[in-house]
Amino acid sequence: MDTDTRIGGGDGRFPDTRHSAIEAARSGVAADRAVAHETIVAAYWKPVYKYIRIKWKSSNEDAKDLTQGFFLRALEKDFLDRYSAENGSFRTYLRVCLNGFLANERKASQRLKRGGGAILLALDFTTAEGELLQIDVAQDDSPDRYFAREWTRSVFEIALVGLREQCAVHGKQIHYSLFERYDLAEEDQRGTYAALAGEFGLTTVTVTNHLAWVRREFRRIVLEKLRELTVSDREFRSEARALLGAEL
């Protein structure tokens, strides 16, 4: 399997700005636009690819081309300019546009004309394809629900990369290891705080405090990422509820 190319900027660094990437992508400054495009694609390419594969039942190769084609279209200024936070979240706008794009592409069967199958964005489809094999898709999953869950997964994955870096920078590797062993473990491998305390030579209270710190950091990073991926305060709050609140 290929290594993950993480097009969200190098190796998925922690975002150092809280400005909206959507707004930056609409700006006239080319450098800002380029960074913003990276941020948007990093958060959305996997949900888009998986959505095409699962909900549009496209083949692996078709889905790759369609994902590339869609993002080339989505990053054009007029596409972004048409988005208004008043009418709903950017996530919903993107999915609705994706549906329209896919319907048109199917009708015209022009996918190869776009780029002749050439790789336009460095997207690690091998990893995404491998992930698809690990997910049981519920038959009653609506397209919106499916896309929302994959988007949550994508944002969380990016946030985890940032979290690991933050922990390393602040010398909190033990905190991250505890988080990895408890919160990132499958339920049947999770164990107890007491067992972790024994394993790491800490008290149970210290384990509790360390985990509370990492969770707080994780939430902060997720919300910062979300701030980048939304335009208005209202959209940010609504998406925060969707991301961390009600069950998906």
Binding site: R149, E157, L160, F236, G245, E247
Partner: protein
């Protein structure tokens, strides 16, 4: 990059939302429920050594003032049918929380899935009316009465929960966004006419709750529910207490105000409510007839 399974994803969402109370007083336990504005957790108060319920504003909900307002409303209406509030505060991440008595029991919708007699359900309904009437007397309208917001405790006590959208009548409120639950909401509330909302808006919801409680009600009960949930506010009972009293009349076998009776209705009601007496009289008359016939032979 980490790959997250659906289970881990859900776990991360839960722990990310979990409150992190300041200091060491509260230890957070499992999530008990989720409402429109916040999430309720079981928490252990280590100072008072007791479990409490902690309601925390949802992440992304900007309405911290609404949460504080709910806490103040709860503090203002001390009644056995309203959950007492213990404490209010702010988490490190800025979310407002308050703690209240942990109620053990079943929500009314779940409680009704068990089998109960009609008189028992009607007496339960009267106990719902009591805290609502008390709140009205304090100038507070609940605005979101529904089975999901009513708890039946372990000892049959009734608690009216979730005062998050309550209106304090002395405070002016502009017409605006509709808050509440459509199915149980009075027309003036659905229209967003906040200035027109008063205790009778809750009476409307109580009428709907009565319909929910009694699947196939007798005619007088139908009339009570219909009167309570009349579209015109003036056609409803003037108060929750007046409605409760009418239900009480039905339970006592008396004519209810909401249901004008025909002679047949009245006879049926009197007979229905005095079955034993009627049976004794009939038995007595039968015995007299038999004695009369016996004496003739």
């Amino acid at each position: 990059m980490e790959w997250l399974s659906d289970n881990v994803l859900q776990h991360l969402r839960e722990v990310s939302e979990m409150p992190d109370p300041p200091g060491a007083r509260y230890r957070i336990g499992e999530q008990l429920g989720r409402g429109g504005m916040g999430v309720v957790y079981r928490a252990h108060d280590s100072e008072l050594q007791r479990d409490v319920a902690m309601k925390v504003l949802s992440i992304g909900d900007a309405d911290a003032e609404r949460m504080r307002r709910e806490a103040r409303v709860l503090a203002r209406i001390e009644h056995p049918g309203i959950v007492p509030i213990h404490d209010v505060g702010t988490l490190e991440d800025g979310r407002v929380f308050y703690t209240m008595k942990l109620v053990r029991g079943a929500r009314l919708d779940a409680y009704c899935r068990q089998s109960h007699s009609i008189p028992d359900l009607l007496r339960l309904f009267q106990r719902i009316c009591e805290p609502v009437a008390f709140a009205h007397a304090q100038g507070i309208v609940h605005r979101d009465l529904k089975p999901e917001n009513i708890m039946v405790g372990q000892f049959g006590e009734v608690l009216v929960l979730d005062w998050g959208v309550a209106r304090v009548l002395s405070e002016s409120e502009l017409d605006g966004p509709v808050m509440g639950t459509k199915q149980y909401m009075a027309p003036e509330q659905s229209a967003g006419a906040n200035a027109q909302i008063d205790g009778r808006s809750d009476v409307y919801s109580l009428g709907k709750i009565l319909q929910f409680l009694i699947a196939a009600p007798a005619k007088p009960l139908q009339s009570i529910a219909r009167k309570a949930s009349a579209a015109a506010k003036d056609a409803r009972y003037s108060s929750a207490l007046a409605m409760s009293e009418d239900v009480g009349r039905y339970l006592d076998g008396l004519p209810v105000l909401a249901h004008p009776e025909s002679i047949l209705d009245r006879s049926r009601r009197v007979l229905g409510h005095n079955k034993t007496l009627v049976a004794l009289i009939l038995a007595y008359l039968l015995m007299r007839i038999l004695l009369f016939l016996y004496s003739r032979t």
